[in-house]
Amino acid sequence: MRLTLKLYATLSDYLPAGARNNQVSLEVAESATVAEVLHPLALPPRLTHLVLVNGSFVPPEERPRRRLAEGDVLAVWPPIAGG
């Protein structure tokens, strides 16, 4: 299935080849979990802070079991703030 992966701020450096505007379309295994999709990217755990699926936050303990669906948008930010 295909989904959209977005990585922002200091995580931009970990985007796979072919990414544009901080996002890339990925082919992943059917019903892959959030953790399974993120694992090959080798994101530093300390920087894998805000993990959103379709804009909704997925807490760390749910990431290994949260299954993704066709067309989902998985977006990740390091710790950030502003105002």
Binding site: K6, A9, T10, N22, H49, F57, W77, I80, G82, G83
Partner: protein, 615 residues
């Protein structure tokens, strides 16, 4: 001791400058800056006073940590009755002006009355005098700062000034210091203009002394700086990306107000984000961002210094804008961009430059343009009335309206009254996205429920810097809470409001709170200031400040009915994103909040609450 224990009182009507001792009993109750200046204001003016009359006063104030080696200890505040809001106003600015006030030997400057002609205040240590500013009237903030430095042959003078917006009493005029830092909100610049006060120029050569326990202060500030440096937000994220890093995440969660809050997601958010500031432009191969920058004593350095594209239509024939200058920050980029549907980064930078140059709050200006664009879209305003085609998304309209508002030309005069007055004039008051006549900042409260309560109850009108629950609801600081529910938000908002009051009163930047808690601030205050400054006392100071401001507003005529949101946010559900189908639950949160605050059902502090706080 933290404080210099000295106030400068400037009577503009009489033309006198008089030193007086700082009221230390009040300092003990309100700490400094926002808190202490608010106490002075409450004691000295009638809350019902016309903000633009000589009877209003304007106070520039520092905190006990301003000018010290505490990280971010460069803040100062402007406290007055706000021209935009008719509520108590406290606008906070960084840069170097606040520290210079301390170096000159003062804690606070109180301006009263109205000068018969334009003047500026010049302070050199103990010497303080009003000087003629007839030749400066009409000049921009940038020109004014340069002219004063040249006149005194001293490039180290620090200047806060108003531009044409403040002179013309644009109701969201701000006071600009150090070229691109500003006491931005609530129209404090209009109050300054009403007093015929063009600028305040400071030169202090005394440095800073009087820390109560210097070894303890050195240890406390060093430890606190280590916390900032090791935190991923304050040590890495903010220096590299600045506040604008929020653009994409707030859009992703469906809380980026777009086209006057019609939508909660902006399809061009990526084009005006921090990441876009780092990308090379196709026109000249340069990145928009030139460098980050720090205010006095700051070890975060979140400020942005950028360079506009010289080929952009807005500046093609205006080389004075081609150099590096301040911006864009998140709030300005949102208000000038998403709020109007404009995705042209260079146009936003140009409008932001005009705001800095002429002294306008880009949040209220941008949001007012958004309201005008909706009136235009609905056919209530015509292109003949506005003087141009003001459709949503028009970068050309944004740039032209910024010029017109800054100069007080044509429809710009109506924009300069802010969205509440403009929308009321055209029979659609509900289209002003504001609370207490102050426009919302960059978070849609349908997608971040706690921010609805934050806005509705903010003592200075809609504002994110009175209780930044975004930190918890979205960013997970200090703990993650659910942005889509109302449960627990009353307690959360109160906690943020009270803590923020302490950060402001101390004279430090609220951005430290992304890494610090009050437990990091407390040892610094304790070591700097005479007296006992326990955690319990600091918490009480924060709550006291909030209730003092509340009492002023109640006496000024505000009621619980003013603690509310525009109907759009309560009846028109978000159309996309995680908040799709949701409105803000302010009517549920408000009574819970009053109860948590110790206020009655009408939002009036109970007698027991006032007695507990010594009010």
């Amino acid at each position: 001791m933290g404080w210099n224990r000295k106030v400068l009182r400037v009577n503009l009507t009489a033309g006198t400058c008089t030193p007086e001792p700082l009221n230390m009993a009040w300092a003990n109750d309100y700490l400094g800056s926002r808190g202490l200046a608010s106490k002075y204001l409450v004691e000295e003016i009638d809350p019902k006073v016309d903000p633009l009359s000589p009877d209003n006063k304007m106070i520039m104030s520092t905190g006990p940590l301003t000018g010290t080696m505490a990280s971010t200890g460069g803040r100062y505040t402007v406290v007055t009755k706000g021209a935009l809001t008719n509520a108590i106003a406290c606008s906070n600015s960084g840069g170097f002006f606040g520290a210079e006030m301390k170096f000159a030997g003062w804690d606070m400057i109180i301006f009263e009355g109205r000068s018969p002609r334009p003047v500026y205040l010049y302070v050199e240590n103990d010497k303080a005098e009003l000087r003629d500013a007839t030749q400066l009237w009409g000049k921009t903030c940038w020109e004014t700062e340069a002219a004063i430095k040249k006149s005194h042959q001293d490039p180290l003078i620090r200047v806060s000034s108003i531009g044409a917006a403040g002179e013309n009493q644009v109701l969201f005029a701000c006071i600009v210091n150090d070229l691109h830092r500003a006491a931005g909100r609530s129209g404090v610049g209009a109050v300054m203009g009403s007093k015929n006060l063009k600028a305040v120029a400071l030169r202090g050569t005394r440095g800073f002394s009087g820390i109560k326990d210097f070894p303890a202060f050195l240890a406390a500030t060093t430890a606190a700086k280590k916390v900032l440096a090791e935190n991923a937000v304050t040590g890495q994220g903010l220096p590299k990306y600045g506040t604008q890093v929020l653009m994409n995440v707030i859009n992703e969660i469906g809380a980026l107000p777009t086209r006057n809050h019609r939508d909660v997601q902006f399809e061009e958010a990526g084009r005006i984000s921090a990441e876009a500031m780092h990308e090379k432009r196709p026109t000249d191969g340069r990145t928009h961002l030139v460098s980050n920058a720090a205010c006095f004593g700051c070890t975060i350095a979140c400020g942005r210094i950028s360079r506009i594209d010289e080929t952009h239509f807005s500046v093609r024939n205006s080389p004075q804008y081609w150099g590096a200058s301040g911006g864009l920050e998140y709030e300005a980029a949102w208000a000038l961009g998403a709020a109007n549907g404009v995705g042209d980064l260079e146009a936003l930078q140009y409008a932001n430059l005009l705001c800095n140059e002429h002294g306008m709050d880009p949040i209220s200006f941008g949001a007012t343009v958004g309201a005008a664009m909706e009136l235009y879209d609905l056919g209530i305003l015509s292109s003949e009335q506005i003087g141009l085609d003001a459709r949503f998304g028009s970068a050309e309209a944004l740039c032209k309206l910024a010029e017109m508002t800054a100069r007080g030309e044509g429809f710009g005069r109506e924009l300069g009254q802010g969205s509440a007055r403009m929308c009321a004039k055209y029979g659609r008051p509900e289209l002003s996205m504001s609370v207490k006549s102050q426009e919302f900042p960059a978070y849609d409260s349908r997608g971040i429920q706690g921010m609805g309560l934050t806005y509705a109850t903010s003592n200075r009108g809609a504002c994110h810097l009175r209780s930044y629950t975004v930190a918890s609801e979205v960013l997970g600081i200090p703990v993650k809470t659910d942005p889509l529910v109302t449960e627990g938000k009353a307690e959360l908002v109160k906690a943020f409001q009270d803590a923020t009051g302490v950060f402001d009163a101390a004279g430090i930047c609220v951005f430290t709170s992304f890494a610090w808690t009050l437990a990091d601030v407390q040892p610094q205050v304790q070591a700097a200031c005479d007296g006992d400054w326990s955690m319990d006392k600091l918490n009480e100071v924060g709550e006291r400040i909030w209730n003092l401001e509340r009492q002023f507003n109640l006496a000024a005529g505000f009621t619980a009915a003013d603690d509310d949101l525009p109907p759009r946010l309560k009846t028109e559900a978000a159309r996309t994103g995680p908040a799709k189908g949701l409105v803000n639950g302010i009517d549920k949160m408000r009574p819970e909040y009053y109860k948590v605050r110790g206020w009655d059902a009408n939002g009036v502090p109970e007698k027991a609450t006032l007695e507990r706080l010594g009010l």
